[in-house]
Symmetry: D3
Subunit: 337 residues, 6 copies
């Protein structure tokens, strides 16, 4: 039996958005999706052809059932999802338009997942026959007990020789930079593949970088960071915001001794949320197929992220062939008929 | 300046319902309303022609703004609404159909209102020139600090010679019978008009009633209860459930020395939530217009309640003339053109 | 060439209704239909298999185009529709539910049709090869110039040996009883088939009827009325309102020397507007097929009216075979598969 | 490993219904569900707590993906679903109202499933560790090759000692009575549990029954039929149609030597399609839990069927506890809060 | 008590728009908003933090109630709104897309407001403790009696030392250039702040300007105009239309002795209606905060107008901090989370 | 009687699209339109002011009725539409966005039209008093019997001196290049006006073109092709795809001895389907008005096509004056009010 299963660990929330770019204060209707960083990565990876398990805790009510049905529909293995606790996490997303920004309003404190403790999960069972484990800084931000569970998971992952990817995903509405630094420094020793930007290193980890050429020093410092924490790959994207409806995106890969930069895409946006998760899923998918071809992985991640912006909902549900056709067409779209 | 303002005190929540009688686990859309027992009474009373203030606390975000706009649209005075705290209370309502019951799923723990403390409100200012104060058991159930605030409000109301109405409104999903009993016994000494049923007295207050003729003893015992707590009027409804879409409703008034029973209506239902609040608002409206005419008040309350079932949302927005026409037509409806 | 075309003459309006039984003051959405008494009769008659022309005036804008497309879609001949004037008539319909009545709010004053004058139409051309002309009291109510046009139409119809049906259709929101009486007395001498009730005769025409047995005298008086105005047939319905969603309906035919009463149907309602027009269309369809079989005609009219209540919009679009199957099934509905 | 898996075999179609009780010819919008007799039984059984596999063939396009996601969301095992062929079957459902009947319009000829042949499936693998196999007359009606596959499936089922249930489900729009008779006579020797009515025996199998007391002879003849084909249980329902929105339903169980009749429910209807499949699923669920308690099984089937009528879509997604609470409440629904 | 209340005077209409960029002739659904030039200014000013009263007349029916609830929800003081008359003004808005222009279709003739006469309002009461009065050319266009009322209002405003702003807002569908000229010349002597363009001066007031450098002469002539009518400030915008979905906007301020021109924004559009009213509201808000800082006022007006284009409905409901953040971000939008 | 009627011949299908740019696999709702190449040309031509008949076959069910009502609403003459057969053709359209392409999924095999045979139509009657006949390669692709019918139609058209236009419209999902070549070669001898591109000539007809200057040789080769088949005019468009939402379009006309190229438009897109049919309709309309003014015709066709992209649905419903105003405005759109 080939060992190629992926596990992701985090919270899946009910997401509520007013339709038609309305503001929350003027809507009387919400469109409902389920999403969350690690769940989005799981769903996208399944659609890219991988075998993925998502580990979380959901209340034993209809909203928990809804989240389960959403994950199951996409083909995510939910056999280690714990049921219990009171509330599902909820977040409201007000879609921006033009110069009006999107706004996120969390209602996730005291959720079933954030109040879960580490004894509820059997990581030895979870990591049996698993190749890759992915988690992000959002999970760490949720509670002290979740931080403990995550560290336990990382330790167990390493015991089972599982590759670990970690996405910084800092959210100022969830915790302070100082709390994040403390947690990230505990996590980084376990990480093989890291999604972060130079800004994350500066703002959260308080790295001091100086020197005249910013582009050049960025690469130098990130390579140095990768060496320091024995990280195989650093990945990230550069986003230029034209408006809430139009962005420019490129991506980079940084190894301990070399770097790679993609070309950039300029594109229109239906739903920006989950763009980073789609990038991570594309990168992980590429590395799962060939761990040494980081260039292909980062290109795949970027294409997956750009296309995700054309779909409502948090997670990409695009198939590998759709991503590849997009890459071949250089981002132009012809009608298929 | 005539003293005839009404004050109600409680929580207003965001209510989310799947359309088309869908179950929560199958919907990807929610209809949004704002509602809550005392807010519903306030809105209905304004539409019946009274001057009403609703006192609550709402987070200083777009959902709080939405609730404010909803109250203000209806004409409710919101000048004593406190803004602050993290979350708005949310509840999900799955509309039942036929033999499938409606289901309520609360997500209101740790809401801004439930975590408010009594120093945030200046009840001397609030009760200035006020004639009537209404509150219900739901408010009491929310937290210890809210119970303290409510008792303070009741004490202040009495100091300002304000009439007090109290609706038992017991919700098993919010607290235990034992907790309710303890709280209600503290509240009852302040109450002039009480909305409750014989079942409430038995189940919550643990009254023991025996005797052969239930209908007869019910009246006897409720009269005795009214006497014990010096309550002017007890009001309540008897509901017979044919299906989730069809009910039969009648109402009663019980004084310390006499009783009155209305005829019953059989009617179809669009939205049952808030039916009790509409009843309370109709009764209060009647008593505000003429405190001694309890028969008129209970008939008005019943008609208001029956008609509320024909509207989506928690609160009745029907005008007095619509209620009166319904009462004249004996519940039949002719097209107006 | 067989002469069997029908002509109807009146106004077609834009109708706007809040969805989901909402009240106008709470909606932010309207469902749009086009409808009006004589237009409804025309549409239903086409669907029952007849060749029908509708004569009206519509503004030369997109709303007028919309009305034209609606009529044309149904197969109504619109070759004599005049285009011009400023406004289309609009009416708002608030659907009632249970004991809450439906409400109609007109916005039709100064519409293009109501300001049309009789020179704009060439009735000699219109009535060429026509068998039947239908008009109702609503058309008469709209303006003095429309009353003149209608009288001219009736005169011309008689010159071309066209059968004339007239539906009283009194609307208190459009004109007074006194105005209606004056107009109706001018119209009645031209009428062969008349849709009216004993109440119309009493309230509008101020007939005084006395006697002990109301049911019996009703028939006597209506037969007498038919004789007085040389009317071939009087038709009407008796409606008992259970609620806004459930009615009981039966129908009657009265000749100069005999009467006929149908059995009654009890049925649920989606949209009551146009129920009377559907009745008229069914009766006219029956008489067009066989002018002497008034029993069949009234049964057809009643079935058509009952079924119309199950469709949104003003007009019945039911086919003759659907009506006949309903009549055979005695009003029960089996799924066809 | 306990052997208690259920397998069902048939077609799952895209179902398209106009919203708001509109007729197909007037809609510009369709609500989409996926459904089909055996798929509905599979989905309901999973929701009642069983382990169920659905075997079918679906085209390898987005509509096939949609059906897969629908089945997977509900927890149905789809590991033996074949992908290939051109078209998914489609059917249009026009919801009736009151006296206007629902109408089904099939567009399923030449679907991928109907053109599947028996070599595409490995029934030895499919029936490994399986306890129950369910199929209906709709599957048989689709094509000659599907009839062959079904007979092969039945033969293999018996080889693996799998219990077989068969639902007559005759659809006049799919095949003739004569074709059905020929196919059913080949299938019946394999059947342990049969869903049929006396009318099916008369109309399809051309049994001649005479005698004065119809109710009594019905039972006699069905018992005799059960004996003739060595069937353990015959189940069926009696439906009385009040209107498209209101029916009365009761059920019966007939053994070779005794009979049982349930009480009847009168109930309102949201969506009648799949009511029979819900009945079958409830009965099968009861028998899976206790094969000898046919009374409990038929009561469960009836309750499941009645409640299914309160949900949009073809399949019941109700949990066992919801069914049991409904049975306890005798069909009345109280709000849960 | 500080005198800083704003009063605006005009008509608020029901606005009906087909969704999804449909044309009126193809829609069967309308989205409903309430709007009108001066009402839009009032709503935007309240959301920017000012105390605003809107003076109008609305029919005493559900549509009037709806307009009242809309205004009240936003916090507009409606204590001087007169109720009465027959009709609410209605307008249809067909949203353009790309090269297809938006179209407005009025149905406002004979509205309650347009038939109001000046005795119905007590301007002495209205202007008590008021700092600013705003009205536009649309109000003047509606009827002779409204023109009389407006002139009376202006006279009374001046008596109460109220600052007056006037927006030309010429609408060719409402009146002729000649009628506008006559009315504007009567109004201008009362105006302190004027919203107009050089084109308005040329086309309506028939100013003749010549000279080689248009940009330069524009400023000269507008300064001269300001001097002639003793106007403190002239404000206006320059709009370049890329398509119905994308425009470029800049703004200018012209004093008697100097001019100021903003930079330009290029932006995408959801709803262009009310862009001019949002500009006026931003300018007025700036001047209310500091009457001499016209540069800040015009920048605020421009930002408010640009952002308004990203919201459905006639009026901006954006808060001051949203405008300021947009100005800081130079029109780019970052997601807030 | 002037001979200027147009006839088009082909299939009209039910088109189903998920709203909000959703993918088919994630939608539970479809928007329904009716469309098909030749039907689209017919509808657009009627809206441009011509008298047009559409010839097809539709099943005698509600979906066929829906298609009829759609055609009739637009004013298309449907007096030669045959009713019969089993199924209406259906196609699913997944709207692309940005770099995600639109996808078409056909479900039209075995449709009533594709199984029609030539005896069902009386082309002598159809072509009586007809000036123009239009058909496209899609019709030819549907079945052998339709190919026969089309050839018969072309032969009869020529007998009646009817001008013939033919649009290559090659669809790879319907037939092979080889099949298309065979059919097209039979059709071309009848063609007066041909819609095709150089790519069609190369790929389908296997013309070999060489030479250094592609732009130049394209014109040469197409002129040569026109000469070879005695075609009066070749028309086509060049499309540059920026994204699924933004394209650039220009058009050309090629005669036997000269060529003409329009300028290009860059525009946003709501719905690209039917853009080619709108082009053909604009060209045909221009030529119907003046057969020799090919420049005006191609400009009209291009403007009609560009504007069609701003409307949902397959067919342009724009009036001639809307096209002309767009041409005058150079593609910019100003609000009309």
């Amino acid at each position: 039996m080939e060992v190629n299963k992926v596990v992701t660990f985090g919270e899946i929330m009910l997401r509520l958005s007013p339709p038609m770019y309305n503001k929350i204060e003027q809507t009387n209707e919400y469109q409902a999706y389920y999403g969350g960083g690690e769940a989005n990565v799981a769903i996208s990876l399944v659609n890219l052809g991988h075998d993925v398990q998502f580990v979380t805790k959901l209340p034993n009510n209809q909203l928990g059932d809804g989240a389960i049905k959403h994950l199951r529909a996409q083909g995510v293995d939910i056999s280690h999802v714990i049921r219990g606790g009171d509330n599902i996490g909820i977040y409201f997303l007000e879609h921006g338009f033009g110069g009006r920004p999107s706004k996120v309003l969390y209602n996730r404190k005291h959720s079933a997942f954030s109040e879960m403790n580490s004894e509820e999960l059997d990581f030895d069972l979870i990591f049996n026959n698993v190749k890759w484990f992915h988690v992000s800084g959002i999970t760490l931000a949720l509670s002290e007990s979740i931080r403990q569970s995550t560290l336990l998971a990382l330790k167990k992952a390493k015991e089972h020789h599982v590759l670990v990817s970690f996405d910084f995903n800092y959210r100022a509405k969830l915790w302070s930079l100082k709390e994040a630094k403390e947690a990230f420094l505990k996590v980084l020793p376990y990480v093989d593949v890291c999604f972060a930007t130079i800004r994350d290193l500066k703002d959260i980890l308080e790295y001091k970088f100086d020197g005249p050429d910013e582009e050049y020093t960025r690469e130098l410092h990130m390579m140095q960071f990768a060496k320091e924490f024995q990280i195989d790959y650093m990945f990230g994207t550069d986003r230029e915001v034209i408006s809430a409806n139009e962005n420019i995106l490129s991506a980079f890969a940084i190894l301990r001794d070399k770097t790679f930069q993609t070309k950039e895409y300029r594109f229109n946006i239906i739903d920006r949320v989950g763009g980073g998760d789609a990038f991570a899923s594309g990168v992980i998918s590429g590395l799962l197929n060939n761990y040494s071809d980081f260039k292909c992985a980062v290109e795949l991640g970027l294409a997956c992220s750009v296309l995700k912006h054309t779909l409502y909902g948090d997670a990409s549900i695009l198939k590998m062939n759709e991503i590849l056709e997009f890459m071949k067409s250089s981002g132009r779209s012809l009608i298929e008929r």
